[in-house]
Symmetry: C2
Subunit: 335 residues, 2 copies
């Protein structure tokens, strides 16, 4: 605060021009090693760091990326961020976080606020409330963008996702093998490819095993804890399913609570299986069979892609990176 240490100051003290200082700091080939060393040592001595605003204004590089997600207080996303941050640190980038809370207007507002050069690129996992691909069709032309997990399809952008269809298929088969025939589906992300793929995997598994898919009850996720609990209660009462397949983590608590309220034993009366990154899944009562996405890896991969793009490196052939989820069998499906 007291003594502003900038490039000019360095130049004066070393009796060279500010251009030389700038080039030396950026390790330009134009500058001799001798001069570079003088600059570097003085810079270190004076604790100089370049002013990011000035540098950004001139060079149009911010060394900053934005992460736009529904909510950070969610195991999947907080793990993703952890992965993103790890890579960002390696590349020397800064990370801005924006939470949309599944609100598409907030999502658009945030994104638009980034188009004036505030960031070099964006990592996003889109809101589930709507599927408005027009906006993103235009957006991807304006700024480097990588989607992760919750993506828009058919766009000229990199996407990092998981094998939602396959793992949902596999998980449904697991329930069927455990003897379930009335498998209710707790439906989340229904507007998004991920949600649809999970549901499709579930349906196809049922069909493959000769179970009438269209007769299975479905509860759609609402942004209201009470409502979800109520719907699951009704589901259990009216359809008496022998299994609940939950496509998102948010259904776990209401599902367990509903079973408890109705006096249903898990897994004897009803089996439960859910997509989830809960670290305490194995401690639940009973422990929960989960489909666990590699959230941390997804974040890492997405970030790596973005930084490759920002550094003009060629992306290896494919624009779609698909990682594998894990089906972890525990007591709640008990078999």
């Amino acid at each position: 605060m007291a003594e502003a240490v900038n490039i000019k100051r360095l130049a004066q003290e070393l009796n060279i021009s500010i251009a030389t200082v700038s080039k030396a700091l950026n390790d330009s080939y134009e500058i001799s090693l001798k001069t570079k060393n003088r600059v570097w040592t003085l810079a270190k001595e004076l604790n100089y760091t370049p002013n990011p605003a000035a540098s950004n204004l001139r060079s149009h590089k911010t060394k900053t990326v934005a992460v736009i997600i529904p909510c950070v207080a969610n195991n999947f996303f907080s793990l993703s961020i952890k992965g993103i941050e790890e890579i960002a640190r390696q590349y020397g980038y800064h990370v801005l976080i924006y939470q949309t809370h599944e609100n598409i207007e907030a999502e658009v507002a945030f994104t638009n606020s980034l188009l004036n050069g505030r960031v070099d690129g964006i990592l996003t996992s889109v809101s589930s409330s709507e599927y408005n691909s027009e906006y993103y069709t235009n957006l991807v032309k304006k700024i480097p963008l990588v989607f992760f997990d919750r993506v828009y399809e058919n766009l000229d952008a990199v996407k990092v996702t998981t094998d939602d269809y396959e793992i949902a298929f596999q998980a449904t088969e697991h329930l069927i093998e455990c003897g379930c025939t009335k498998i209710a589906y707790l439906y989340g992300l229904e507007n998004l490819p991920a949600g649809k793929a999970r549901f499709a995997g579930y349906l196809d598994a049922l069909k493959t095993h000769g179970i009438a898919a269209d007769e299975q009850p479905v509860v759609k996720y609402q942004d209201d804890e009470e409502l979800n609990l109520q719907h699951i209660n009704e589901l259990l009462r009216e359809y008496k399913p022998d299994a609940l397949f939950s496509s998102i983590e948010e259904f776990i608590i209401p599902a367990y609570c509903a079973c408890r309220e109705m006096g249903l034993k898990i897994p004897d009366d009803v089996k439960i299986l859910s997509f989830s990154n809960l670290s305490t899944a194995k401690l639940l009562n009973p422990s929960l069979t989960t489909i666990t996405q590699p959230a941390f890896e997804i974040g890492r991969e997405a970030a790596k892609c973005l930084f490759k793009i920002l550094n003009n490196k060629q992306l290896d052939d494919e624009q779609n990176i698909i990682l594998k989820s894990m089906l972890i069998k525990r007591e709640s499906t008990g078999c």
Copy 2:
């Protein structure tokens, strides 16, 4: 990207000077309402947003704050961030996130990288690995800083914390009332005021109830899952405590697992109580008695304080804001 829309462009189209445009955009009293309206409508029409780098460079305001925390993949911190972000949005600020992973060097490196005008202020919850107050003593003179939860004391900075001592005291009393006399302590954050306060509350509660405090076993947290599990196993085997008081969430899984491995029934053989923001605490097997900090509120309060400082508003008398935690009794302490 194609047509750069900046203040100059607006000025040209309206046939006024760029100074007038800038002042109009900032709603300066110097400009007539008529001109302001012309500027505002054109700005909206052309989708103009000011270049943050230029604006920052000139005005020394970034409309950005940094949050420095150990790890985002932690229920307490992710909830805090949610709170911070909510307030930041209200004030129109952007939020940078940095994860230290309890590494004091990373913490210092990140913080230093923010002192060149990248952010207007910092919200931090410090690493537990060390207590190096010299650094922060200097830091608070250089940039507006608010500590939350994990703080440095005796500094000229705002701190948002919780009633760690009182709630730990109260929780320990709860265990004693349940008949426990051999209460082992799982010690986390031992270098920080929060960790010390929790331990002190525990010790004082023991003393108050005539239990020899210095005979109670203590397991200190290690950054290694296996090691913690092993230590708790040893603890259970050698000291046969009738209760575990965990001062941090990270002990929950190893504690439950250790009990399971040793064939100990919770709460019959050993009761468990932990500081935690786990949303699934009530679903654990058995459900877990927790001390739950108001993480979301802490984030909100800390952010509010910082923005008040940044806007030169007077902080209400006190530099220390202390929020109340909740003791939520469940089956794991069964009484």
